[in-house]
Symmetry: C2
Subunit: 325 residues, 2 copies
DNA sequence: CTGAAAGCGCTTACAG
DNA sequence: CTGAAAGCGCTTACAG
């Protein structure tokens, strides 16, 4: 279906301003080689006619585009929504037009949505890949388009990646926990790259503190109920667990439900912002989504200048100590 | 900066397939007047060359576009993120390409982002307007583009609007509350159209139940802390309040913090989904964002067919009784 | 500093 | 059912 008419073109503007099409185009593209007088005439004409620039035509002719697609795995995850909003702000301030799409945690949707977007001449794809994204597919995409991945690492992919220092998150939260407890401590996460990095940090902290009894579980799911069940089962075999490092707030919530008495001995490696003024339930590592957005923009800009972009950017994380004991 | 080369065009496809450009174009636009044999040759050539359709060129030539912009006031609001995801799914299934942008609760950002998007030849704007959106501005936009507003009503605007039946939400939650309490009951909301509608439902329920002592407060803000403070102040003057109807979960949370003893006498007119498996804290009205998305698509389709779209669509709300008492 | 001309990759009548 | 031609609204050398 056609949109409502918007037929005024560069030609009409040129006509009204009494200059040529080229001059109007030069004004539009912020060229410095237009006389101030002509420029003003053009600007007035644009205003008078209500002219709106047609970027499709411009992009087609010039072969350039300032459209950046942000492909989010799950927009209903507050952390991701926050990240998307920051990315939009950053890209916007660098004069890109951001378009956000959600792949709803589905590999198929991610593939099809990116394929569709290719037809719109986007300059780059910034993608938070869904679980089980294929490295080959990603690398192929990256060979034709500018691609940056965020937050989740796709194993063995060569695409540049910006993500929080999950290892450090695991390390810091574990250290904090170990200032109080030095008994049996356990890490609970899933089988993602993220949890692997957190677990590595957890282990290094345990060894640094000379904890002898620690273990790592990596088959949790990101569900409060499943985590609760899992921890209940774990407690049967290992009733002496005295402290728990969780991959994120959701798992932590489940563990807490299973073992309320451990309230002060549960930490989370990844805080999920829920409601700003509600405080923190657990001592946790907080990811700075704004910083991740900034870094992503930098990588993008390097890529567009054909510099070799850093393959992996690790963004710092901060420890947030639970306020109420 | 240029995107990585993608130089294969309809012409190359035609050449390889041994047909003319027109024939390729007809295949691409799903025309039925192409011989099956030719079609297959074209499809094979497309596959072999890795051709990708250039929608900018197509849109420019045809004057049509299937791009729909979804402009969200606040993407970090879980309810809005959920709505955006549903809208994307609905639009996608109707073969539109959705682009989501966030205006971050700022009128200026909303204006500038929509102005930018105009340059990309979008077929329609679906917007959740930020507070204080000017009706004149909106109506002007709607006179040039297809516009649908969602969730928040802009007073005195003529743009079509799809929103939950807030009045009913206020009515149902109040009735539910009044099955237990028949004492002094109060409504707390802000000065938005939404709260006004909820308050109207609240009042009609109070009168239906012949409650004599009820009052309405409409100067709350959507903040847990502010709501807590406000309710504390309210309690000083009206210590006999025995039940509270809140505009949403955030305010309800604040009220609960101020008066924990009222736990079973607080209801919320608008549930904000936070974590799927955590259950409901308050008895509340739940908005069906999927239904809102569906209705929006229907209105859009009517608009595009130049039928007169319904000016206002009220979507049903459901009462969710708190499970644990 | 400005104008005339070519062309980006498509679609769309219009003949054949 | 298929091909040759015009044109969507721009940008970009290239002369003037």
């Amino acid at each position: 279906m056609p949109n409502k008419a918007k037929s005024v073109t560069i030609y009409d503007v040129a006509h009204l301003a009494g200059v040529s099409k080229s001059t109007v185009s030069l004004v539009l593209t912020q060229s410095s080689k237009v006389a101030a007088k002509s420029k003003q005439k053009v600007l007035n004409a644009i205003d008078e006619l209500g002219y709106v620039y047609n970027r499709d035509a411009a992009a087609m002719r010039s072969g350039r585009s300032n459209l950046v697609a942000v492909v989010i795995d799950d927009l209903t995850n507050p952390l991701m929504a926050e990240l998307a909003a920051h990315l939009e702000q950053q890209l916007n301030s660098a004069h890109f037009q951001t378009i956000i799409v959600s792949s709803n945690n589905s590999v198929e949707r991610q593939t099809s949505t990116i394929n569709n977007l290719k037809e719109y001449n986007v300059a780059a794809f910034i993608v938070c890949p869904v679980a089980n994204t294929c490295a080959l597919w990603l690398d192929k995409l990256a060979s034709h388009y500018n691609v940056i991945t965020l937050m989740h690492e796709v194993p063995y992919s060569a695409a540049p990646c910006v993500l929080p220092d999950y290892n450090k998150a695991g390390h810091l939260t574990t250290l904090e926990l170990l200032t109080n407890t030095l008994n049996t401590v356990i890490f609970i996460g899933d089988n993602s790259q993220t949890s692997k990095a957190q677990a590595a940090g957890f282990i290094s902290a345990c060894e640094q503190k000379k904890v002898t009894e620690y273990c790592v579980i990596t088959h949790a799911e990101n569900s409060v109920l499943q985590a609760k069940q899992l921890f209940n089962e774990t407690l049967v075999n290992q009733p002496h667990i005295s402290a728990v490092v969780c991959a994120n707030d959701i798992i932590a919530q489940g563990v807490l439900a299973a073992a309320p008495h451990l309230l002060n001995s549960i930490v989370s490696c990844q805080h999920v912002p829920v409601r700003k003024d509600l405080g923190y339930t657990f001592t946790c590592a907080v990811l700075n989504t704004q910083e991740i957005a900034k870094r992503s923009l930098l990588v993008l800009q390097e890529q567009l200048q054909n510099n070799t972009a850093p393959v992996k950017t690790l963004v710092n994380v901060n420890l947030q100590i639970r306020e109420t004991h």
